[in-house]
Symmetry: C2
Subunit: 212 residues, 2 copies
DNA sequence: ACCTGAACACCGTTCAAGT
DNA sequence: ACCTGAACACCGTTCAAGT
């Protein structure tokens, strides 16, 4: 919540009133997203911030930019947690724990999962997407480590892992039943723990080259 | 595609022109949904059917009604398949196969998953929801049978099962990667196959009733 | 340099007028 | 009984005019 950094996170010196409006917008956005979900009319946010709608667009050209800003703290935390878990003692469970926390993060606002998933595969590199990239990078590391330790199935890829967390959160949004999320994740995790034996590399079996 | 039944599926005698418009609307809706996804402007559908927008609303008060109508055939098929599988030889795999087909069904139109999932938990009993009820009923049967056979974990519930299919389809929509869907389902299914041993019902262990 | 809000575009939904 | 499309509401986005 200590978010009075400037738009580009550089020390781009904003005029005093602009900085003030910027901060008001971020606070208003957080409040509105929390209260009415990630699809709340942008106009409502501007109104709450007591700012013209044009000002909102000036600072945040797209809704995703606003979402990304408001999620900054959460994103930092989930990334930090990932790094911590990366040096945990049980690679498989470390990955799993991270996914659990990722699902929570994804549920920050109602309707957020759709926005996140969209940006996750959108062509245009939005801000939200940038966070996603960092998150999948970390996911890759955690996954690779767990797979190397032979604790997680080798045919799993980051996309599914990450989007699984998303979809669990999505299911939570739809059903409003935290139990469903918990149970689904439990199934998923058990599935992830299933390790197919390494294809018995037949010691130099005479592979005959066949014609045609 | 043989869909010239009347709105309420009764022989409610529609006036000839009304029936014609109705059929045109269904055909147009199918075409538009296929081409532009489940969110296509209703106006586009009316235009393609060469019918006033009011006529569309008269026949289909909500977008869900239109979706439900256009999905009738698919819904019937998935239900029928479920019944077939119900008398399959391998309860666990029968359930799993059904989920696979359910995921396909859910992907009929781009953007359909969201609509389906929404209606799945919506309060107001829309048409779409009605289909969903039938589907979960069948899912319950398949699941119960598989669990009774000891082939599927006992803590799984229908909601997750169904919504898992939905979310797999959803992931397909997002990533446009059929491989991701396949891999996710594989993980999920392995998770479903994990059967925790029945809590060893200690043969009449002397359960002492404790005070307080 | 930044803010404002009117103006425009777009889509959903209703309803008075028509046949 | 049914159809039509103008009319209204709503939200996103832009931009000319203002400070």
């Amino acid at each position: 919540m200590s978010t009075s950094t400037s738009p580009k996170d550089r020390a781009a010196p904003l005029r005093a009133d602009a900085q003030r409006n910027y901060d008001l917008l971020v606070a208003a956005a957080d409040a509105e997203f929390t209260a009415h979900g990630a699809d709340v009319p942008l106009e409502d946010i501007a109104r709450r911030a007591e700012v013209g709608i044009g000002t909102l667009y000036r600072h945040f050209p797209t809704r995703d930019d606003l979402l990304a800003k408001v999620l900054t703290d959460g994103t930092a935390i989930i990334l930090e947690r990932g790094r911590e878990l990366l040096s945990g003692s049980s690679p498989g469970e470390d990955l799993i724990q991270w996914i659990r926390e990722l699902a929570d993060y994804t549920a920050t606002y109602r309707g957020l999962t759709a926005a996140l998933a969209n940006s996750y595969v959108s062509e245009t590199g939005t801000r939200l997407c940038t966070s996603c990239d960092a998150i999948s990078a970390l996911g890759s590391e955690l996954l690779a480590r767990a797979q190397a330790a032979g604790e997680i199935r080798r045919d799993a890829q980051v996309v599914e892992i990450i989007l699984s967390a998303h979809s669990a959160a999505w299911i939570g949004e739809q059903t409003k039943d935290p139990g469903a999320v918990r149970r689904l994740l439990a199934i998923l995790f058990d599935g992830l723990r299933v390790v197919t034996p390494k294809p018995v590399s037949k010691p130099r079996s005479k592979r005959v080259k066949v014609r045609r």
